[in-house]
Symmetry: D2
Subunit: 345 residues, 4 copies
């Protein structure tokens, strides 16, 4: 039984890790931290878990926590992970970081979009944790950079087409829409029910921090540098991201052929499903599960490929993918503990 | 492996049975019926299940279906079950009926609130499937009447207090609020998003058909006939029922004592949780799970007991409870296949 | 043109006052205060008002503001109004207070439920601003205590029946459900979209501060002291309160007769509508308007009267009612500037 | 007082016309039709209007209705208007058609996307009712084709940039998101609360019928033929459309310059508001009002213009715009009866 620490356990991704890991047959959370809730039981903060866990939030220092675990999930804000990760690594533990701190390979790009990096020396060994692209590298790493939620939906949505050189790399536009849990559990006016319900807006136009992460991976797939327009929006729902992706086709191809190409690319993937040609996915089909569902069409009138991909931002977009990565890193069955039947209606 | 038939599988309770049973280690759905979707695969109607089941809706006659299953769930409208149940029973199969047809012991009461009964002879052997009250009887029956969603929340909310003779039986008021999935998947104006979102109303004041079912069971618990005011309301959310229940206390007792009484009563129950004295449950803590959460308080100013109970109407209020009953009837572990960690946020 | 000051203008009730008064033909907001947004234009905080107002939030002291207005609305937390009201009164201005500070006639009751009162000497002259009951007194007052949102829905729902001595005063139960805007615009975890959407809970069981206000007015109507059970709940919607009210009947009466009694009682009221016998109101029918809609039924089985009343908590339950009161105090047409056609769907 | 007929008054656009016109000082609805609700009062179908209108739905033939009105609004499905419009025109009445039947100037394009046209001879005299572009033509017409909701948001969002030849016409992508009221009030599974809430999906990818209408007007503005990618999506909210529009810039220009250009273009428009450079609009700022709010940015990294425009689909996207057109056609003040202060929160 693998012993886990959740470092930063009071936000939605930390809680989601705890919730999902309750059903994991091969791993067990032994500690969960929170400054605000230190001394309070997890079930008190999160009554849905009443009767199912004895965990109590702790504020113990990372050095102490590292002694009693095999692997730590860092569910911290950007900038905080880079301070904590080295402590666990030094203690010989594996680290899965859910922040952006180790996702960007070029530290100058990271620093342009985020802040000065305090542990840049670790970046070269960090593995970008998208199992569909980096399964082999994930297996051997001790420092895993878990992908962002938006990037997961966009990269999975474009990977087969870019690898096959179908697309004009200068033409990619990703119009993404996310549920509110992506904004975290910190109280702020913009996340209040009265501000969100009945509303819809673009979150950040032309400059969201997930842009360099997406471009890094898409460039890799395309085999040449690629710049995208990426616009995230805020949906009045709790969980889920839907990305609608547009790109010019450089080859003539039919919708059926693209669907077949995607189906082939993801054939052995346990958590990617391709819709039938002409069908498109709904967030409600993946909410509560670790699936990414993808639909494709070729718009003959404009010669564009249009891809729609959906994930649950807290599961495949964060905590579920982190567990999938843990399973791979630890040699467990990859789907262990991961939900396949979401909640609908 | 127990072979199951879901008879009436296109509504929300039928779908929920199918969804939950995918995760059941000891039972397997072998057939699922729908007139409208005959020939269509379950995953096409319900894309959340894509890749997880090969089931195709059938319109085969019940006689044929009975040959290949051990137990049937009837997820049919009231009045339809009484026609189908005898066919499966005659074939030697067990029946779990999710309609009201076999819940009311006094056929004249049933006929006053519903319609003429076509299989009244079967009523005496039907067992009311609330495991917390009738576990022993459930074990031996071949015809189980699965409780209504509102009744489940009200009866579990009052059982300990009524059994202990704490309450004036003439004083019980149950003010219940249900999510929209309780209205089913049939298209009707009142269930449209634009009619429901941002709205809230009483569903039926002073005459809802669940009243006699609730009164039958509460009278039983109280040991004397009991008439209640029961008002259901329609919440702008998908899943969940919350019942706020009021009754005059006939004995002096503190909130802590009532909480202790409830905790004792449900001590060994796998799916009932009692909140700490002074705490009250939220629908979001049980949505997606088979739990019933209950909070109690004694209002000293008015000498009333106030109970708040919550369930997921599709799980503990319907399909989950049906599976719990199946587990008991078949000698399986009672919690098999039943979700404990719901979905929050 | 009456010159108005909105003191405390950044919360939902302050904003709603500003929004509604834009359409008022006989009054004009000349100043609006906010500590947090001082110097920021109202339209920047509240983009729905862009292009419609030049107002800029100010943090000027009340003494200065009093010089340039005829009447002030205090949209402040309980406890703050009692400090500010005397300043405006001393300057010879009229005060409409939307907090609870001047609603409770018995200062010891106020202090038991709230806090020490700093301006108790003003209480005797304050008028409780429910036009349907106190129109004459409102006309002449300089200090108006605008009713609470829950109390408005409960008192209007019971007034005709209590005045007619139909009810057992010991038997009244009010089960109320409110939208989230009632919790204000202060960021707090419990008001976040992810906490509210898909959830429903009792807000405070057996001890909400609106209880003494409701009891004061109901006792008045009944002509004898009356204690109630009042349970507020939190609905996953933005605007609206629905109260379901139960009481034992002391006289024999039919649903039709009660409906006629209510219709007669409110015959000349511009903002109360009585549903046809057997019909019940929906929050969506009053959201965005100043109406209170009421439905009644006599439950013969239990000999109870059941009343359902709905209001928009921000309009008839707060800012709209405050404007209605201003109109009366200033001799303007009572319905001036008040919305009748809400927003549906 | 202009006498109006609403032909097709039971859907959301027909109801919205009735609701808005209650507040119109210069026009009055004298008849409203519905096959389903003939003989039922409008207020019974739509309780929010109780006490405010005596209108009763009628099923009278159009010839009879034409005798008593000056102007008719046709709120009918596509294909039905073309049958009814000629009857009113022949009787000498003006017609405002909210369907697509007279929007497309090239009948062969209409017939390719919709169906055979039964009144093609009328098309040349029909005026496309976007006041911001065709105010002069609207003034003199007797047959007005009221724009579609999606087209209104996209065309207003692009008009200034296209007129100024800023954009590569082959590069336009409109990613639109609409509330559910756009799907109408006909009961269908896809519009049920349980299907919509918590979900989000593309509605039709690469082939929505609003495409030719958008292309017709954008081509006009650009002065050359233009083909777009247009993807509508279904938001879990009742009212509102947000369109995110992308196009390659052909000239170098800054965000501030584009904002100034837009501000100049719409300077005298009563119902278009331009956000400050770098700010973007929220559906909740226009819901309940006739405004179109627009935000713009220049994405230097990709050399694209990104425009975000929002409207209330039932008001500026349908019934409000129809009334704005009626005001122009009848020489009334253009903003008469049109709401400016929507409902927020």
């Amino acid at each position: 039984m693998i012993r886990l620490c959740i470092y930063g356990g009071s936000g939605y991704t930390g809680q989601e890790l705890a919730r999902l890991l309750l059903n994991h047959p091969g791993a067990k959370v032994v500690s969960i931290t929170s400054r605000r809730f230190a001394g309070v039981s997890l079930a008190d903060v999160y009554p849905a878990l009443a009767g199912q866990t004895e965990l109590v939030y702790t504020n113990d220092p990372p050095e102490a926590l590292a002694k009693n675990c095999d692997l730590v999930f860092l569910a911290l804000p950007h900038g905080a992970s880079m301070e904590i990760a080295p402590i666990f690594l030094k203690a010989g533990k594996k680290v899965i970081d859910l922040s952006a701190d180790f996702r960007i390979r070029d530290v100058s790009v990271y620093e342009a979009w985020y802040r000065t990096h305090a542990a840049a020396a670790l970046i070269p060994e960090a593995v970008y944790g998208l199992p569909e692209l980096y399964r082999k590298e994930i297996r051997g790493t001790r420092l895993l950079a878990n992908p962002g939620c938006y990037p997961t939906s966009v990269i999975l949505g474009l990977a087969p087409a870019l690898r096959s050189r179908l697309l004009d790399p200068a033409s990619v536009i990703a119009d993404s829409k996310s549920g509110v849990s992506g904004s975290g559990r910190e109280p702020q006016i913009g996340s209040l029910f009265c501000e969100v319900a009945g509303g819809f807006k673009a979150d950040k136009v032309g400059g969201h921090r997930h842009t360099p992460e997406i471009e890094q991976e898409l460039s890799c797939l395309a085999g040449r540098p690629l710049t995208i327009s990426f616009t995230p929006h805020l949906l009045p729902l709790k969980r889920g991201i839907l990305s609608t992706i547009y790109a010019k086709l450089e080859k003539e191809i039919s919708t059926e052929e693209v669907a077949a190409l995607y189906r082939g690319f993801y054939e052995k993937e346990p958590f990617v499903r391709i819709c039938r040609a002409g069908q498109f996915p709904n967030i409600s089909s993946v909410a509560g599960s670790n699936f990414c569902d993808i639909g494709v069409t070729v718009d003959k009138r404009t010669n564009r490929l249009i891809v729609v991909s959906v994930i649950d931002n807290l599961i495949k977009g964060a905590s579920g993918q982190a567990i999938q990565n843990m399973n791979i890193m630890q040699g467990l069955p990859e789907a262990s503990g991961l939900p396949r039947t979401g909640l609908y209606p």
